[in-house]
């Protein structure tokens, strides 16, 4: 028995030695400067959430492939600041000196990390570092990225209203946090813009504008969407992660039964998720923000030594950071053209979308 134990340990040691040998050869740094390694920490979703984390990761992977960088992501066991700090520390210690963190939940963790790991650079998406008092402290090794969700929501609202022309619209959000609120407010302004300028007749009622409160309650998403459709709502804008998955499923079931039910997707082009038969989908359009582009751009900037440290950047229509998908069979060409007109106006500044509530619903 003892003999067997010893030989087993020996085999393990040998195997370990072999692998470590490989590692060293592959990772041999270029003389002078160590190779850049890019890490990412996921927030509360998984890496394949078809939304926030996945979008970021796709950008990281694309940059990794293009520039030949080593990439890795870590998923924290929890969603507290301590969980995030631990994984950021793990990545930094392992030589990943550029770390991308998607989500406002990282704000306080990055606030600490930017001082603790001075040799590491951080990209924080949808948030800025602060110590819990909302006063931004962006150090030289951190860049903070925001998206103009209100502009994205505006374009989607405009497209949906132009396409359906009349009826009730609804909104289901996840948590009541700024990015989700801005989607909502922008969407309402888009609908209004269509009503004023193109003579459509779409309305939104207060009871159909809802923040579910989580990003993962699939059952609630289905049930809320069902209530709205039962009340005659024709299209629902879902900015709610997993909650939206339930809503899309409800819309699919209705569409399959021959009833009208539309969903406006969020973050990425969700057309594929709404397919219920052949190539037909319940996704009317999607309010996109190009998270992957943002992640890619920051890695590229770091690679070229132009990392915009200390800044708070906004990706909007001006720098093509938001938009709606180019191809969607549910939208007519004419509608897409009108939306692009509005996009051009956003771009040159002749049209402004407010990112505050004002007199809008919730």
């Amino acid at each position: 028995m003892l003999k067997r134990g010893i030989s087993f340990v020996l085999v393990l040691v040998l195997a370990a030695a072999m692998f470590s040998g490989c590692g060293k050869q592959a990772d041999k740094p270029e003389p002078g400067k160590p190779a850049l390694k890019v890490g990412m920490v996921t927030d509360f979703g998984t890496i394949d959430d078809k939304s926030f984390n996945q979008g970021t990761w796709e950008g990281v992977l694309r940059a990794g492939k293009e520039f030949g960088l080593e990439t890795r992501y870590l998923k924290p066991v929890g969603t507290t600041e301590a969980d995030y700090m631990k994984e950021i520390g793990n990545l930094s210690d392992a030589g990943f000196k550029l770390i991308v963190c998607p989500g406002f939940k990282f704000e306080t963790a990055i606030f600490q990390a930017q001082d603790k790991y001075k040799d590491t650079k951080f990209v924080l998406i949808d948030g800025y570092p602060h110590k819990g008092d909302w006063a931004p402290v962006v150090k030289e090794n951190t860049v903070s990225i925001f998206f103009a969700e209100h502009e994205s929501g505006f374009l989607a609202g405009l497209a949906a209203a132009l396409q359906l022309k009349e009826g009730e619209f609804g909104f289901i959000g996840g948590m009541e946090i700024p990015p989700v609120q801005k989607f909502n407010w922008g969407f309402q302004q888009g609908v209004k813009y269509a009503n004023t300028n193109y003579g459509t007749n779409v309305s939104m009622k207060a009871e159909n504008v809802i923040y579910q409160g989580t990003f993962d309650n699939v059952a609630a998403g289905q049930q809320l969407a069902a209530q709205m459709y039962d009340r005659g709502v024709r299209a629902i804008f879902t900015a709610a992660g997993g909650v939206g998955v339930g809503s899309i499923n409800e819309a699919k079931a209705r569409a399959k039964a021959g009833k009208e039910a539309w969903i406006v997707g969020v973050d990425v082009d969700q057309y594929g998720e709404g397919v219920y038969e052949g190539n037909k989908s319940v996704i009317l359009t999607s309010a996109m923000k190009y998270i992957d582009v943002a992640a890619y751009d920051m890695i590229k900037a770091e690679k070229e030594g132009k990392f915009p440290g200390g800044q708070i950047l906004t990706f909007s229509a001006v720098n093509d950071g938001i938009g709606i998908p180019k191809t969607n069979p549910n939208l007519s060409d004419d509608v897409y053209k009108k939306v692009m007109d509005a996009f051009a106006k956003l771009k040159n500044g002749s049209l402004k979308v407010s990112d505050t509530q004002g007199d809008l619903l919730r």
């Binding site: 394949d48 309650n217 289905q222 049930q223 809320l224 998955v245 699919k252 219920y276």
Partner: protein, 315 residues
């Protein structure tokens, strides 16, 4: 009020059914004397197997794929539950720990498999079940509007299984033996009953039902496997205790949970309910459960030998 109830009812039933069948599975296991905390994990196994089977088959056979998926989940649940049975019955391991292990393994294993097989930890199915009105019966006054409109086929399947299970437990030889093993396994053994075999079967039935419950979630309201059952398995376990280990009690308890959760979920979308703070509605079922458990703890109907490994030599 009436319109409110009819508005919520079909969705509450859809939410209740997976809970009901999973809880019923737990009933089989626990009445035979084996604690099954692993219901959550077994549901995840069912969700994964169902979603994977359906997503692979639905292009080729859109209609039948759902039923093949449900069957696959049923079988996968039974097979996976054998792990729990082996640990608890053959190895006399601590049943609670084994159940926790099942939960932990199921979540991690299915996500790992999903990533390796489909390239993503989430498996989306294109076709789910469509809600239909039951012909003729849906025209009945009151009941027709509540019970027979907007129903899923799985609802009727599960209700049929509830009736079948009640009959099996109380009217057949197997049911009597199963209950005997949970109350006094030594007495059952001396009467010539193979306690190990009965318990193995009971745990496998619990796995099969929980697997079916998980797959039902996929084909009805969620439409996507994402590596978690969102605590439904634990809720089913609570309903099992709340329902005092009896089929009718479970039916009542799961429906109570299902209806209360649905009301809490949709309250925001209904002006009449939106006035009540969501916190109260969301915690309501759990507070009622706590109170009910406190009140009923003295007269608990738990099987006498629940949680004890069967040791032939012990008297």
């Amino acid at each position: 009020m009436w319109s409110l109830i009819t508005q919520i009812f079909p969705y509450a039933v859809a939410f209740t059914i997976p809970l009901l069948i999973t809880s019923l599975g737990g009933l089989f296991s626990e009445r035979s004397g084996i604690v099954n905390i692993g219901l959550e994990g077994l549901m995840i196994i069912g969700m994964f197997t169902g979603a994977l089977t359906i997503s692979v088959l639905e292009i080729a056979m859109p209609g039948a794929a759902i039923w093949v998926g449900l069957l696959a989940a049923f079988i996968a649940g039974a097979l996976f539950a054998m792990l729990h049975a082996f640990a608890c019955i053959t190895l006399n391991a601590n049943q609670v720990i084994s159940g926790i292990a099942v939960n932990m393994v199921a979540g991690a294993l299915t996500t790992y498999l999903a990533r390796n097989i489909t390239g993503s930890g989430n498996i989306l199915i294109i076709h789910g079940l469509v809600r239909k009105d039951v012909p003729v019966l849906s025209a009945l006054p009151v009941i027709g509007r509540l019970v027979f409109t907007q129903t899923y086929a799985t609802t009727w399947l599960v209700l049929f299984l509830v009736v079948l299970s009640t009959f099996t437990l109380y009217k057949t030889k197997f049911g009597l033996r199963l209950r005997a093993c949970g109350e006094h396994p030594h007495a059952a053994d001396s009467a010539g009953i193979n306690v190990h075999l009965v318990r193995y079967l009971a745990v496998m039935i619990s796995g099969a039902f929980a697997g079916l419950g998980g797959a039902t979630v996929i084909v009805t309201y969620s439409g996507e496997f994402n590596g978690t059952a969102a605590g439904l398995g634990f809720l089913a376990l609570a309903a099992l205790i709340f329902g005092q280990w009896k089929p009718l009690g479970i039916l009542g308890a799961t429906f109570f949970f299902g209806f209360a959760s649905t009301v809490a979920n949709v309250s925001q979308a209904i002006p009449a309910l939106a006035k009540i703070s969501g916190i109260y509605l969301k915690t309501f079922p759990y507070i009622v459960t706590l109170i009910a458990l406190v009140l009923s703890s003295k007269s608990s109907q738990a099987p006498k030998a629940l949680g004890e490994p069967y040791d032939k030599g012990k008297r």
